[in-house]
Symmetry: C2
Subunit: 253 residues, 2 copies
């Protein structure tokens, strides 16, 4: 398996055709998977925003006021308003905002970025990243699978890692149910989230800073002859951590 950064990707602007950006710079093979940082998908889709577009309501002011008193840092209530508008559920309000985005991904600040956003205050995640992946895929020569990623924090572990927020052309999970281990026993681990592992792999090449390598091609890797399915975002019924967070309250004292 090989990972190749697409070379010389320019600064992406609203309206740019990412499939053309890719195919102009690299000869894709039929089995290549293309992994794209959400940042450039958002830019191409014009998901820039300014704080002025999110006049704060009372709920946003309450949240920002509380975060300000906890952290001692100034918090713009319009940012809280933007997060609220991108989300369907608030999992944590303090000491930071953890929400479920409208498309099902759980992330801090609904994945709204303030880095790598020229000329605007904010960059929102793509509205429906799997649809974005499908659109990019349409423009690729072999209908190559596309994974859209974002860097995300996680419980239990320090440090962020890239995960998939959208994908098309391959299942999100490799399902090993019914398959066997080396001793013929049925497998304990049954579902492997390959799109998250692809996201993490690509992020080793892309990086977080000014490296400018938002698009990575994964070559000589295959999903293989397994069942697959697309349910990567847990709903609250199957997520005990979300259930626990519903009953929890940060202690401001």
């Amino acid at each position: 398996m090989e990972l190749l950064a697409v070379p010389d990707v320019p600064e992406i602007r609203e309206g740019d055709d990412l499939a053309a950006v890719i195919t102009d710079r690299i000869d894709l093979r039929p089995d290549d998977v293309v992994v794209v940082a959400s940042t450039v998908v958002s830019k191409a889709e014009g998901r820039f925003a300014d704080l002025a577009e999110f006049p704060d309501g009372p709920r946003a002011r309450e949240i920002a006021g509380r975060l300000e008193s906890i952290t001692g840092d100034e918090k713009d209530p319009r940012f809280a308003q933007a997060v609220l508008e991108e989300s369907t559920e608030l999992l944590m309000e303090a000491p930071f905002l953890l929400t479920e985005t409208k498309f099902g991904h759980v992330g801090v600040n609904a994945g709204i970025d303030r880095s790598n956003v020229p000329g605007h205050d904010l960059l929102l995640l793509p509205e429906r990243p799997s649809e974005s992946a499908a659109r990019i895929r349409e423009g690729l020569p072999h209908g190559n699978p596309v994974v859209v990623t974002d860097t995300s924090g996680r419980p239990f572990r320090h440090g962020q890692a890239a995960v998939a927020v959208g994908w098309d052309g391959m299942p999100g999970n490799r399902d090993w149910r019914g398959e066997h281990d080396r001793d013929g026993r049925e497998l304990g681990v049954t579902v492997q989230c390959v799109v998250d592992e692809l996201a993490g792999a690509a992020n080793l090449v892309a990086g977080e800073g000014d490296g400018g390598k938002p698009i990575v091609v994964v070559r000589d890797w295959a999903f293989g002859d397994h069942d697959g399915h697309d349910s990567v975002f847990r709903d609250v019924d199957s997520d005990f951590v979300r259930q626990a967070l519903r009953g929890w309250e940060f202690d401001d004292a």
Copy 2:
């Protein structure tokens, strides 16, 4: 960046020298990182166990009884006892066991495996996986960095993915603090858990079943000129999900 499975790794037995297994089969270059599934590290370290070695106490019987009545499946209280003995804290008792292992990793069933364990009931995680990584590393020609992985579930997302449980020869996290984005703004994302991203990348090649590729070499990737640190496992003070779980109780009804 390239990922190469070490070819023809045999069934690993207690006492096997994993560094020799690697160097006999692949010519490592100075910058290669070696990623090893914990399964084979455990086998080499003789971390096989049988249920008979874990006579159940009252706590284990209580846990197993409750899991049995919730799931309707038979649960051996000696397995619960094994999990207790490998752990420092129980984060969840039902509907499955989520614990902190003695070395700080949070995982289901303390990472005890029942797959790929010939001739025994159980395979425990290495006692101190970072020390295991250091020992393997000593036998590698260039003191190559070593990452020991395990497949692990996560909150918010379906499907498992490999994460690092131990590492040596490189920092666990790449620290971007003080670095800048493409517009000269200080970065929002500050800490990238590269050992987890390496684990995920390698697992795409290793797989979960009977593929037999537990050792993967990562070539032409560099940690780069960044600060780094090794705190990957959160302690409870910085982990609000763990705090929330302390106050939460699964509803058996």
